[in-house]
């Protein structure tokens, strides 16, 4: 069966510190991968999506970056966190075929202090 793992579940980081959030998918190959951010009580803002290794699209200009070192691994990074980077970060995947829904990880609650 297909599963998605995202960690850590919660994170408190000081302003200016680096960030690395990791997401891995099991049970499928060549998935589409997504990073979303959700502010409190708000909708889902797409940050990055990838349809393959070395194919990452950025949706929002910011101090975050994404990498896909392996087919089923997606990493969200920052060199220096800002207070405005606080939020709920969600990784998701969909299988690469027509008409397939996306499945979400449980999210990472990031608080920048």
């Amino acid at each position: 069966s297909q599963t998605i793992h995202q960690w850590p579940a919660t994170l408190v980081q000081p302003v200016g510190s680096p960030l690395s959030l990791e997401c891995t998918v099991e049970g499928t190959s060549n998935p589409n991968l997504y990073w979303y951010r959700q502010a409190a009580g708000r909708g889902l803002q797409l940050l990055f999506y990838s349809i393959g290794i070395d194919q990452i699209s950025s949706e929002v200009p910011q101090n975050l970056s994404a990498s896909r070192p392996q087919d089923r691994q997606f990493i969200l990074s920052s060199k220096k966190l800002l207070l405005s980077d606080s939020g709920f970060y969600l990784c998701a995947y969909s299988t690469y075929k027509r008409g397939t829904e996306a499945f979400f990880g449980q999210g990472t609650r990031l608080t920048v202090v």
């Binding site: 909708g43 889902l44 349809i51 699209s57 998701a92 027509r98």
Partner: protein, 115 residues
């Protein structure tokens, strides 16, 4: 530009009533339309999904109605229960072009079902 427009932003329904959430889109590259349910502190979970070649899909108390010509789709929750209280998101998946594989979400609807 919001690719998928969702309304209402919030909805209050009495237990046993029908909850209706509407979404609209413009992009003809959208090929798949899932709905997600999200409880506080959790990731969104897939609820039900539909393809544009089907006008309606029902799973238990949840029904999607799809109007391809109007580019609109809606979620109906029959016999709404307090446990249905959550945020609901409609979404659309692009199947071609430069946005292949991109999943667009509506802004969400916060549903509260009163006991």
């Amino acid at each position: 530009q919001q690719q998928v427009k969702q309304s209402p932003q919030s909805l209050i329904v009495q237990k046993g009533g029908i909850s209706i959430i509407n979404c609209a889109y413009e992009n003809t590259a959208f090929d798949y339309f899932p709905w997600y349910q999200q409880f506080p502190g959790k990731g969104p979970a897939l609820l039900i999904a539909i393809r544009p070649d089907v006008s309606e899909k029902k799973e238990g108390r949840f029904t999607i109605s799809f109007n391809k010509s109007a580019k609109q789709f809606s979620l109906h929750i029959m016999d709404s229960q307090p446990g249905d209280s959550a945020t609901y998101f409609c979404a659309a998946l692009s199947d071609r072009g430069s946005t292949l594989g991109r999943l667009y979400f509506g802004r969400g609807t916060q549903l509260t079902v009163w006991p």
